[in-house]
Amino acid sequence: MNRIEEKFSELKANNKKALITFVTAGDTTLEVTKKLVREMEIQGADIIELGIPYSDPIAEGPVIQAANERALKNPIKIKDVMDTVKEIRTEVKVPLVYLLYFNCIFQYGPEKFFSHCSKCGIDGVIIPDLPFEERGEIEDIADKYSVHIITLVSPTSKDRIERIARNAKGFLYCVSSLGVTGMRSEFNTDFDEFFSYIDRFTDIPKALGFGISTPEHVQKLRKYCDGLIVGSAIVRQVEKSTGEEEIIKNVGNLVRELRYALDD
């Protein structure tokens, strides 16, 4: 059992839902990332996603695109992120998941990549541009190192949901609505229908993401799933804050509010 399964069973035992948070690694520096991960854990994040900055993040909206550009100005290498995660892991207990684009794994070398993930304490990877059909290329390698490939389903997945859900590992990443990542004012998806369909095929924990940005969203949506994923709203706090201290404080405040809303 890797840390993701442990976390979800612990939450279930306590009748709680998962708060999954995201920051882009190296935005604004890897030192800030280290402190942010620690702070988010303290304020109640259950699983933390680290985005590996990429030149062409096609699934991201403007907020995370800008974070990628800020991080790449440094310039930041995947090896540096791995080293930082290794340090983070000595202080942080929550599951850590990478969000990255397939080309980064492909160039790093899948074998080396997953072996390093495992050594540094990464529990899963989310690869937005690797649909179910293409993951055979790395699936066995990821399994070998016990790193879960977290798969996504979206409201347009329809008849694809069965295959994806049955084969999901760690948790199933459920995309809230059409479009790229980023804050939304409303959701047009029929979540009752979406989740009851998914439930026909799997017992795996389901986390809902894309556009969830406020405590109100969290309260409204928590009943549908086992966890909620908040990304752009956190990155937005990084973007608008000046200086390390303010970044940590503002992100910490948001995560605390989200935690409160989720448990309330």
Binding site: A59, P131, F132, T156
Partner: protein
């Protein structure tokens, strides 16, 4: 559980896209497979090719150029004479008719030089479709005339400022837009790139070029040519010319890549000559990238070749040695642009000038009984400003 991997050319191609797009690609593939052999669809497409785009395009014997270079006979496939001024209209008419069959009311497109954007806006006007075009902000400045043409045609042109603000980023932005409105929107991709089924579908629509050349050269010479030469960015005009000759192995195929200021500088867009295998925009192919997989900025005088990758079937042609890919610099392309204009009275697109330049290199070394066909993929009116700038001539009043 293993699933048959679709849309592969050797190891290249595939469907590396967000889950939200997968069913849309599957629907597109089904619709394409249904209509590509449908008589009504084929008839309608033929009608628009002939009556609207002006096909077949001419295969012109460039007699003065041939004599001047003193070697192989040179023919020009005049895609520049098509309506809207380039080969792009072939693919766009095909995709727009498909969009209509699929009941889509809105088309989106990416564009670099603006030729594909203009072609898409044209088809949208003709078939009464809503049209949004994504174009890098830098390209909008380089190709202001095409931006205005698109707007006149009723399209909305969205400047893309992310990344390098060129074709690569316009493509990413068009894909993001498609993810947002996948239900009512048809993405008209402009080259033999992107996720399956685009590389195969665009190739098929562009194959009219090579199929016509086969008939035309048989009429004129009674045999197939020895060389086919075409420029490659994503590679749609080259694939359209090459593909029908795939099994005619005596016909050599040469794709010319943009070498910009030279392949030993950082300012080029030669994906095969200088790139490595990677994944971007839904496909596995050759890309210019660093060791971490970050796509590196590219450069070419030609906005249409200014792309850090190449279509997956070209990557396969390269690996299997069916075709050869050679770099041509800005300087060589500009010289060819001026040369063809002076010798034949034909102003070629700066993209196509890359192909002309390579023909100028090899023709003199070949015997007179050899035949070269150059794909003149577009006309050069749009490039007059940038060539003048390159030559240091100020043509602004």
């Amino acid at each position: 559980m293993s699933i048959q991997r679709k849309g592969r050319f050797g190891e290249f191609g595939g469907q590396y896209v967000p889950e939200t797009l997968m069913n849309a690609l599957i629907e597109l593939e089904e619709a394409y497979n249904k209509y590509k052999d449908d008589d009504d669809f084929k008839k309608e497409l033929e009608f628009y090719f002939k009556e609207y785009a002006g096909r077949p395009s001419l295969l012109y014997f460039a007699e003065r150029m041939t004599k001047d270079l003193g070697g192989a006979k040179i023919y020009l496939k005049r895609e520049d004479l098509n309506h809207t001024g380039s080969h792009k209209i072939n693919n766009v008419l095909g995709q727009a008719l498909l969009a209509k069959r699929m009941g889509k009311k809105r088309v989106i497109a990416e564009t670099g030089a603006g030729q594909h954007g203009v072609a898409t806006a044209t088809a949208a006007a003709l078939f009464d479709l809503e049209c949004d075009v994504f174009m890098g902000k830098e390209d909008m400045e380089r190709q202001a005339l095409n931006v205005f043409r698109m707007r006149l045609l009723g399209a909305e042109v969205h400047p893309v400022t992310s990344g390098t603000a060129t074709l690569k980023d316009a493509t990413s932005e068009a894909m993001r837009e498609w993810v947002s409105r996948v239900n009512d929107t048809f993405y008209v991709l402009g080259s033999v790139v992107g996720p399956h089924p685009y590389p195969a579908m665009v190739r098929d629509f562009q194959s009219i070029i090579g199929n016509e050349v086969k008939d035309q050269i048989m009429d004129k010479e009674g045999r197939y040519p020895d060389y086919l030469i075409a420029c490659v960015g994503g590679g749609s005009n080259a694939m359209g010319l090459f593909y029908p000759f795939l099994h005619d192995t005596e016909v050599k195929m040469v794709g010319t890549e943009a070498a910009g200021e030279g392949i030993d500088t950082e300012k080029h867009a030669a994906s095969i000559t200088k790139g490595s295998i990677g994944v971007l925009h839904g496909m596995k192919s050759y890309f210019l990238q660093d060791k971490d997989g970050q796509i590196t900025p590219v450069y070419s005088i030609s906005a249409g070749l200014d792309y850090p990758g190449i279509g997956p079937e070209h990557a396969h042609f390269y690996e299997s040695e069916r075709a050869q890919y050679v770099p041509v610099t800005d300087n060589e392309a500009v010289e060819a642009f001026k040369y063809l204009t002076r010798v034949e009275g034909i102003i070629p697109a700066i993209e196509s000038s890359h192909a002309v330049a390579y023909a100028m290199k090899i023709a003199p070394q070949l015997p007179k009984n050899k035949i070269i066909v150059i794909n003149l993929s577009g006309r050069g009116d749009k490039d007059v400003y940038s060539v003048a700038r390159y030559m240091g001539v100020d043509i602004n009043e």
